[in-house]
C-alpha cells in the first residue's frame, strides 16, 4: 500500500468518525430523535472491507451501520437526512438510524435484530450463484451475535452450498453492556467457523490494511466459487453502546487503552512517523469536517418526511 492509500483510508475513517460525531451532536440537540448506535473506534473494519468491494457487491450490516453505509459510498447527506427523518433520507425517514438501506450503493441495509442479517446476506449470495453477477456479499455482525442461532445456521448453509459470502464479525468485546468473554467459553469466535469447514482468520480490526488484506483473500475465495470466509476483526468501540451509556461495565484503564489503540489515532501516528507531513495527515480530517458540516446543514434544512405518505409502499 502506498502512502496515498493510507491517507485515503484515514480520510475514509475520518468521514465516518465525523459523521458519527455529527449524529451524536444532532441527537443531543434533539434534532435526531430515538436511539442511535455509533461506530466510533470501529471505522477500520468498514473501511478495510469496503475498500475491496466492487460496485455490484453487497453489504448487510447491523444497527451500528452508518459507517458501513458511508464506506460503501452512500453520501453523507442522504444518511443524515435519513437519521433526521427527512424526505431526502435514503429511505425517506422510514429506516432511521438503525434500519436504513441504500441498495443503489450496494448497501443492503442495517438490521436491528441481532444476527438476522446473516441469513439474508446468505440469500443474497445464493442469488449470485444463479445470476452470474460475480457478486460477493458481506455480512457484518458483532461478537454477541455469534450466540444467536441465526448466525451459525447461516454460516453452515453458506458453507454447505459454497456461497460467496464473507462473514465479518466485529469483535468489540462487548454486547451492549456485557463482556463477550463472560458469555462464551472459547474467546476465539473464529473457531466456530472453522468447525463448520469455513476458512477463518482473526485480524486486527483497528488496522484497515490488515482488514483489507483478509478481505481481498476472502473475495478471491468467493469469486472462485469456493464459498464463504469468516473474518473476526478485533476492535473496540470508544463510545457507549447507546447514547447515555455510562460504560460502568468497563474495567479501569480499558477506555484509555482503547483510545490509544483506536484506528484513526494509530494510522495518523504511523503516517507522521513515516514522514508524512502533519498537515497532510490533518487535512484528511478537515476535508471530512467540511463535507459533513455541509451535508448536515443541508439535511437540517431539508423537508421533514410527509405523514401523508406513511401508508405507502406496504405492498406492490
Amino acid at each position: 500500500m502506498t502512502t496515498d492509500d493510507h491517507l485515503a483510508d484515514l480520510h475514509a475513517m475520518w468521514r465516518i468518525r465525523v459523521l458519527e460525531e455529527k449524529i451524536l451532536e444532532l441527537r443531543l440537540a434533539g434534532d435526531v430523535v430515538g436511539s442511535v448506535h455509533l461506530s466510533n473506534g470501529q471505522e477500520a473494519v468498514a473501511v478495510g472491507v469496503c475498500g475491496q468491494l466492487r460496485k455490484q457487491d453487497a453489504v448487510f450490516a447491523t444497527y451500528r451501520g452508518h459507517g458501513w453505509a458511508m464506506a460503501r459510498g452512500v453520501p453523507a447527506y442522504p444518511i443524515l437526512a435519513e437519521v433526521l427523518a427527512r424526505t431526502a433520507g435514503v429511505n425517506g425517514g422510514r429506516g432511521g438510524s438503525a434500519h436504513f438501506s441504500a441498495p443503489e450503493y450496494g448497501f443492503y441495509g442495517e438490521n436491528s435484530i441481532v444476527g438476522a442479517g446473516a441469513p439474508i446476506a446468505t440469500g443474497a449470495a445464493l442469488a449470485s450463484t444463479f445470476d452470474k453477477s460475480g457478486r460477493v456479499v458481506v455480512t457484518v455482525f458483532g461478537d454477541g451475535a455469534m450466540n444467536q442461532g441465526a448466525v451459525p445456521e447461516a454460516m453452515n448453509f453458506a458453507a454447505a452450498m459454497d456461497l460467496p459470502v464473507i462473514f465479518v464479525c466485529e469483535n468489540n468485546k462487548y454486547s451492549e453492556l456485557t463482556p463477550i468473554n463472560d458469555m462464551v467459553r472459547n474467546p476465539d469466535l473464529s473457531a466456530r467457523a472453522t468447525a463448520l469447514g469455513i476458512p477463518a482468520t482473526r485480524v486486527d480490526g483497528n488496522d484497515a490494511a490488515e482488514v483489507a488484506a483478509a478481505t481481498a483473500l476472502a473475495i478471491q475465495t468467493a469469486r472462485h466459487g469456493l464459498g464463504p470466509t469468516f473474518i473476526e476483526a478485533h476492535t473496540r468501540r470508544i463510545v457507549g453502546h447507546y447514547i447515555g451509556d455510562a460504560q460502568q461495565y468497563r474495567p479501569e484503564g480499558e477506555i484509555e487503552a482503547d483510545l490509544a489503540a483506536e484506528p484513526i489515532v494509530r494510522l495518523s501516528q504511523q503516517l507522521i512517523a513515516s514522514g508524512v507531513a502533519a498537515d497532510t495527515v490533518e487535512a484528511t480530517h478537515r476535508r471530512a469536517v467540511a463535507e459533513i458540516e455541509e451535508a448536515a446543514r443541508r439535511a437540517l434544512a431539508a423537508t421533514a418526511a410527509d405523514p401523508a405518505t406513511a401508508l405507502e409502499h406496504l405492498y406492490a
Binding site: A58, F60, N91, G92, R94, G95, H99, F100, S101, A102, P103, E104, Y108, G109, N111, I113, A116, A118, P119, I120, A121, T122, G123, A124, A125, L126, A127, S128, T129, F130, D131, R135, V137, G149, A150, E153, A154, N156, F157, A160, M161, E312, H313, L314, Y315, A316
Partner: protein, 327 residues
C-alpha cells in the same frame, strides 16, 4: 397455453411449481427434502430433475432458509421455499415478522422481497401437538405478508401461481391431508391471476358461512345436511386471507342477514374474530348474532378421539348454523 388436466391436490401444487419455474427463470425452489427426495409428501417430485440446480435441498435451518429466500429475492430471484409444517415456522418467525415484512416498506420501495413460502398445517389423525396447529391468524396480524389457504386442486394451482407472480412475500398454506386426495379436472396453464378474491362454494339465502382451508369440505357437507332441513347456507371459501375480500362477505351478509365463520384454528384470537368485527362495524343489520366455530382454545392432543373433541366437527358446524338461523 391453457389445458384441462386431471390432478389431485398434490399434483396441482406440483404442476404450479413446475409452471412457475418455467415462467420465471429467476424462480428457485428449496426446502428440506424437496429436491432429490421430492418432498416428504412427494409434492415436489420430478422438479429437481426438470430444473436442476434451481431446485435444491437445505439443511434443517428454517431461519437460514427464510433468510436465503429474502436475500435472494432482494437480489432478483423469485424464491419458493417450503416450510414443511407451519408449526416449524416459529423457530424462524423473526424472518417473517421482522424481516420479510419490512423489506419493501422500510426501504421506501427500493428493495422488494418477491418470495413465496409454501407450508401446510392442521391436524391429521394421530399428529402430535407440535404438528397440528392452525396458525394463519398470526400471519394475518403482520402487515406486509400476504396469506392464502387453499383446499381444492384448482385453487392449489391457481393460488400458488399467483403467489409466485406476486412481488411481495406470500405464505401459501396447504394441508397434508389434501395432497393425496381425489383427482379433479382442473384448468392449468393460463396467466397467473392477481392475488385476492374469494370462492363462492355454495349460494344460499339463509346464512352466510365464511370458511377457509381443508375444513371447507366439512362445512359444505354440513350445509348439504342442512339443505335437507330447509336451511339454505351460502358458503364462501376465503382462499385469500390477505388481502381478504371483506366486500364479498358484506354483500353476502347483506342478503342473508346472518354470519357464521368456521375455521379449524383456535377460536380466541382467530381470524374469525376479524371477519365478525368487520361485518358488525359496518353496521350491517343482522337477524341473529354472528357466530364463530373454531377449535376449543386448546392444545391438540395426539389421540384421535381427544383431538376430535377439540377441533370443530361437522356436527358442531351443523349445530352452529342451526342456531344461527334460529332452529
Amino acid at each position: 397455453m391453457r389445458e384441462t388436466v386431471k390432478l389431485n391436490y398434490g399434483g396441482a401444487v406440483n404442476a404450479a411449481l413446475a409452471r412457475s419455474l418455467e415462467d420465471y427463470p429467476e424462480a428457485i425452489l428449496f426446502g428440506e427434502d424437496v429436491a432429490l427426495p421430492g418432498g416428504v409428501f412427494g409434492v415436489t417430485r420430478g422438479l429437481r430433475k426438470a430444473f436442476g440446480a434451481r431446485v435444491f435441498d437445505t439443511p434443517i435451518s428454517e431461519t437460514a432458509m427464510l433468510g436465503a429466500a429474502i436475500g435472494s429475492a432482494m437480489m432478483g430471484r423469485r424464491p419458493i421455499v417450503e416450510i414443511m409444517w407451519m408449526d416449524f415456522m416459529f423457530v424462524a418467525f423473526d424472518q417473517i415478522v421482522n424481516q420479510a415484512s419490512n423489506v419493501r416498506y422500510v426501504s421506501e420501495g427500493r428493495l422488494t422481497a418477491p418470495l413465496t413460502i409454501r407450508t401446510q398445517q392442521g391436524n391429521a389423525p394421530g399428529a402430535c401437538a407440535q404438528h397440528s396447529q392452525n396458525m394463519e391468524a398470526l400471519l394475518l396480524h403482520v402487515p406486509g405478508i400476504r396469506v392464502a389457504m387453499t383446499s381444492t386442486p384448482q385453487d392449489a394451482y391457481d393460488v400458488l401461481r399467483s403467489a409466485v407472480a406476486c412481488d411481495d412475500p406470500v405464505v401459501v398454506i396447504e394441508n397434508r391431508s389434501l395432497y393425496a386426495g381425489p383427482k379433479a379436472e382442473i384448468e392449468i396453464g393460463g396467466d397467473p391471476m392477481p392475488i385476492g378474491g374469494h370462492r363462492l362454494r355454495r349460494p344460499g339465502a339463509d346464512v352466510t358461512v365464511v370458511t377457509w382451508g381443508s375444513i371447507t369440505s366439512r362445512v359444505l357437507a354440513g350445509a348439504d345436511r342442512l339443505a335437507a332441513e330447509g336451511i339454505d347456507a351460502e358458503v364462501i371459501e376465503a382462499v385469500w386471507l390477505n388481502p381478504f375480500d371483506h366486500a364479498a362477505v358484506a354483500a353476502s351478509v347483506a342478503r342473508t342477514g346472518r354470519l357464521v365463520v368456521v375455521h379449524e384454528a383456535n377460536t380466541t384470537g382467530g381470524f374469525g374474530a376479524e371477519i365478525v368485527a368487520r361485518v358488525v362495524e359496518s353496521g350491517a343489520s343482522l337477524k341473529s348474532p354472528p357466530r364463530r366455530i373454531g377449535a376449543r382454545d386448546s392444545r391438540i392432543p395426539a389421540a384421535v378421539g381427544l383431538a376430535a373433541a377439540v377441533l370443530p366437527q361437522e356436527d358442531d358446524i351443523v349445530g352452529g348454523l342451526r342456531a344461527a338461523v334460529g332452529r
